[in-house]
């Protein structure tokens, strides 16, 4: 019979693990489970009415106007994900490579690139709202001053440019994060491996694609997964820069905003519907969890031990 005795070390570990576990259970696991439960009921304000089965899911997916709203927000999330994949992760990789190769000024830029990440999202959002201001914004004034005045436009005020303008702000804000993760990955590559490559080619392209990129695979897994989760949970920037309705005309609407609006109501449409909101939240959660699991396992497979 094995004996389970509490040793001093075991006591320490228990003492350190139990509080965060309680925290996670209370503020993460419980809300998720309750959202699952809420999604199967009809609600009037905060008052729970009848059990309605899958009715709420059916409504948000197949009944107009919810159907169009859901699809529109989902489409925008997909655009955000792929755009940020290029602008944030792609640029981050290139920046990391430049910093890693110790190009002139690397020490300064290492800090400069990461600095925006520590700024509050609110500050970044307001800053870029000012930048994009049709009359006084630095973007339009710069364009005019270099003779490209006809390109000046109300960036956040028209459907064609609003989402992309917010994406650009997001990329500027967070590009330092993938840069840092990639840089850390590159710094783990032994210098003799790089010397070995230099003995065989002087092409930066070959070095990047055949050696550096495969060897920073663990960093790529982290960065891709986090970007995916972040892109489909995107809320703060579009909320502050585009508003709760995803204006203009829903062009900046994303699932996060749409869920919030549905569950808690907004200024123009005072109604709130916890049932539909919870159904949306559950769908978003399942989608993110499933895809993130696939991404992680797929990318894990190509990681190698250095």
């Amino acid at each position: 019979m094995p004996q389970f005795r509490m040793t001093g070390r075991g006591l320490w570990i228990t003492a350190l693990i139990v509080p965060p576990l309680c925290f996670v259970a209370l503020f993460i696991v419980y809300p998720i489970i309750s959202a699952f439960a809420y999604a199967f009921f009809d609600w009037q304000g905060l008052k729970r009415l009848d059990f309605v089965g899958l009715e709420n899911f059916h409504t948000v997916l197949f009944v107009e106007p919810y159907r169009s709203w859901t699809l529109n927000a989902f489409k925008n999330n997909i655009i955000v994900f792929f755009a940020l994949m290029v602008l944030q992760n792609g640029l981050g990789f290139i920046l990391a490579y430049a910093l890693w190769r110790e190009l002139p000024g690397a020490r300064f830029h290492r800090i400069a690139v990461f600095l925006p990440v520590v700024l509050s999202t609110i500050i970044v959002a307001y800053l870029f709202k000012l930048f994009y201001h049709p009359l006084f914004g630095v973007v339009n004034i710069s364009l005019k001053s270099i003779g490209l005045g006809e390109w000046a436009q109300p960036w956040l005020g028209q459907s064609g440019t609003a989402l992309w303008s917010i994406i650009a702000a997001q990329a500027w804000h967070m590009v330092g994060f993938p840069t840092l993760v990639f840089l850390a990955g590159m710094q783990r590559i032994p210098s003799e491996i790089l010397d070995a490559v230099r003995m065989e080619t002087e092409s930066e392209w070959v070095k990047i694609t055949k050696i550096v990129w495969p060897l920073v695979a663990p960093s790529a897994t982290i960065v891709f997964t986090l970007l995916f989760v972040g892109a489909f949970n995107w809320f703060e920037l579009p909320y502050i820069m585009g508003g709760l309705d995803g204006s203009p005309f829903g062009s900046t609407d994303v699932l996060g905003l749409y869920f919030y609006r549905t569950a808690f109501g907004n200024v123009s449409a005072g109604q709130q519907d916890f049932g539909l909101g919870s159904a949306l939240a559950v769908l978003i959660f399942i989608f993110i969890a499933a895809i993130a699991a696939v991404i992680t396992t797929r990318l894990r497979a190509r990681e190698i031990q250095l």
Partner: protein
């Protein structure tokens, strides 16, 4: 064909000069070993030849072409690294094919060369393995194979045996020597191990503090070391250096006896270099020879080394028959055959020709 000339090579890292003007000629098919203590600049010199670091001053000429500004991949030089530096995400075949493909060789030629190298290095069964699934000795062979398939003019090997255990080390050492005989390329080999240097080299370059101390065959270095540094660096146990004064036909150790050397030219004060196999021990005190006391004995089976503390405090080792045992603190007299000793200047340590 490979003819290397290093002319006045200097290397500076910011303000610190680590190589102070290296002049060296390396001929075709030579096996050259750079040897010296850590920090002597031997690996730095190898990296300059490879092109991995820029040359600060001087000229490196390979087959009549100045190489200073030529990219490492275009010099016709391949390098085997201390840590092997295999690409961890590629299998053995890919590791060897990578460089060959980048040279623009067509597929059948790449395959032919890999098959040839794999056969020579006994890697056929391992071609589909990843580096992490290989033992140290196998990785070593893949690293050499990767260099082989490029068929370079010059092979550089940077301490290739230092990550192997002792038994494997002597085995791989023999393989490298055999390989050099078979492929006949010019090889430059860096090590701090003088046994590797002695056994492998056609030509040894002894380096110290960023300078070349002596260049020569293993026999030349052992038999006629140019100075006290080379004399003590080559040979194990190391040569003892004894400060002596010439008085008439005798060399006198302060308070410690003397030896008869006959009519010897040269300065009054000199350093006498004594290798363990050139001295003889006589028990007890004697008129002829240096007085000393036994410190300890190393028994090696086929022979033994006795370490003797001389009267002036210097430690000297003598090779004796394994059965010839001396007790610690036993008084002995060290005798020397005059022709077997080395003579060095007391001032700058240069060899004196008697």
């Amino acid at each position: 064909m490979a003819q290397l000339s290093l002319r006045g090579i200097k290397k500076r890292f910011r303000d610190t000069e680590v190589l102070h003007g290296i002049d060296l000629e390396i001929g075709d098919r030579e096996f050259v070993v750079f040897v010296g203590p850590s920090g002597c600049g031997k690996s730095t010199l190898l990296r300059l030849i490879a092109g991995l670091d820029p040359i600060s001053e001087g000229e490196f000429v390979l087959n009549g072409h100045r190489m200073n500004d030529v990219a490492p991949s275009r010099r016709g030089i391949a390098m085997v690294f201390q840590s092997y530096a295999l690409y961890p995400h590629m299998d053995v075949y890919e590791n060897m094919a990578f460089g060959a493909r980048l040279m623009g060789l067509d597929k059948p030629e790449v395959e032919r060369r890999i098959a040839e190298a794999a056969q020579m290095l006994r890697l056929e069964a391992l071609l589909k393995r990843k580096p992490r699934e290989l033992s140290g000795g196998q990785r070593q062979r893949v690293a050499i194979g990767r260099a082989l398939v490029r068929k370079p003019d010059v092979f550089l090997l940077d301490e290739p045996l230092s990550n192997l255990d002792a038994a494997l080390r002597s085995e791989v050492r023999l393989e490298i020597a055999k390989l050099h005989r078979e492929i006949g390329g010019t090889m430059i080999y860096v090590t701090h191990d003088q046994v590797e240097a002695m056994t492998l080299a056609d030509k040894i370059v002894v380096m110290n503090n960023g300078r070349i101390e002596q260049v020569g065959s293993p026999r030349e270095l052992y038999e006629t070391p140019a100075n006290t540094f080379v004399a003590t660096f080559i040979g194990s146990p190391r040569m003892a250096l004894v400060d002596v004064t010439r008085e008439g036909e005798r060399l006198v150790l302060a308070n410690g006896g003397s030896i008869l050397v006959g009519d010897l030219p040269g300065p009054k004060n000199m350093k006498l270099g004594l290798r363990p196999d050139t001295v003889h021990l006589v028990r007890g005190a004697s008129v002829e020879g240096f007085a000393g006391r036994v410190e300890y004995t190393e028994y090696l089976g086929d022979n033994a080394y006795v370490y003797v503390r001389l009267a002036d405090g210097k430690l000297l080792s003598a090779r004796t028959a394994p059965n010839d045992l001396y007790a610690p603190d036993e008084a002995v007299t060290v005798t020397v055959a005059p022709g077997a000793a080395h003579y060095f200047s007391a001032e700058d340590g240069r060899r004196l020709t008697p």
